[in-house]
């Protein structure tokens, strides 16, 4: 896009925003609704919890290591690993998150991408 969007064009995007919001809400609602309908055996409940952890871990891998369709460089993965090591050693949660950002910022300050 070269210039600012015309007012009419931006307002014209409201149905698209509403569709994205409604679709996202429906997907958020699907899980709890299904759970309320059916009494699931404990084994399935355990499997579903593991499934959420698997998706979250994949999200960590994707957001920690990749950027677009390629690798993220060194700074961000190094920060995430630093945070992970601190977490594994029992550091408080806010220390983990701040150390990850600090490590990444430091490497970038040293011109390591």
């Amino acid at each position: 896009m070269t210039g600012p969007l015309a007012v009419g064009d931006a307002v014209g995007l409201i149905p698209a925003i509403a569709a994205l919001a409604a679709g996202t809400f429906a997907m958020r609602l699907a899980g709890p609704l299904l759970r309320a309908r059916a009494q699931l055996p404990p084994r399935v409940v355990a499997l579903l919890e593991t499934g959420a952890v698997v998706v979250l871990a994949a999200l960590v891998a994707i957001t920690g290591l990749t950027s677009g369709h390629g690798f993220a460089g060194l700074a961000r993965p190094a920060g995430v690993v630093t945070g992970g090591v601190l977490a594994a050693r029992g550091a408080p949660f806010f220390v983990v998150v701040l150390a990850a950002a600090a490590c990444t910022a430091l490497l970038r300050w040293l011109h390591i991408p």
Partner: protein, 248 residues
Amino acid sequence: MWRTLDRDLARGIAVICLSVAAIGVSYGAVAVTSGFPLWLPVMTAVLVLAGASEFLFVGIIAAGGSPVAAVLAGLLVNARHITYGLALPDVIEPGWRRLAGTHVMNDESVVLALSQPDPGRRRAAYWVSGLGMLACWPAGALIGGLAGSALRNPDVLGLDAMFPAAILALILPALRRQGQVGQGQDGQDQDGQGQDPGGKARATRRAVLAGAAIALATAPFLPPGLPELLALAGLLLTPLARRPRVPA
């Protein structure tokens, strides 16, 4: 609700909310500098409340893509919320609160809830972080939209490392339960059932490693959002999934 949160978790939630606000600042700045009016990023932040899909939505339209393509891409990125909802039974109560509770379901509130040991703390962590996110993400987008290009590059501060590090720290306990109170000896728990946290953690670790490998291997070829869902194939490595239903 606050009383059930311990101090470290409360501070953790505050840090996550601040980092989400900082990412929101970059979202608002990117949206406004690519030509969108200020209200648009703020509106999507409140109504959609799922950062990655909003960046994608705005990016596709700014690059000249159709709104339909932008909506479909955003929905694909958000499809992971179906698995979150299936895993979270006891935090969203029925009734009018379900509406708000459903809307604030996101990566952070889900992982914070799953990391808590009992239902009370699960609910507190979920609601406090979810509502915090609902306040901080749009507020960040508003500030970023007002500040425009001045604050465009949050990468200098390393903020992009915060989100993966936070999620990693929170899923770590589910991967490490092995060896607690002498349980989970190798060979004793071949089927990895719930009675044995060690065996369960071992099975979870296998599934997580396989899933992350699948996601990373497919990320170069697939549209955003799909690799995280394909990671679920890692569940096939857990005995929980392989074992056929036995009659009681």
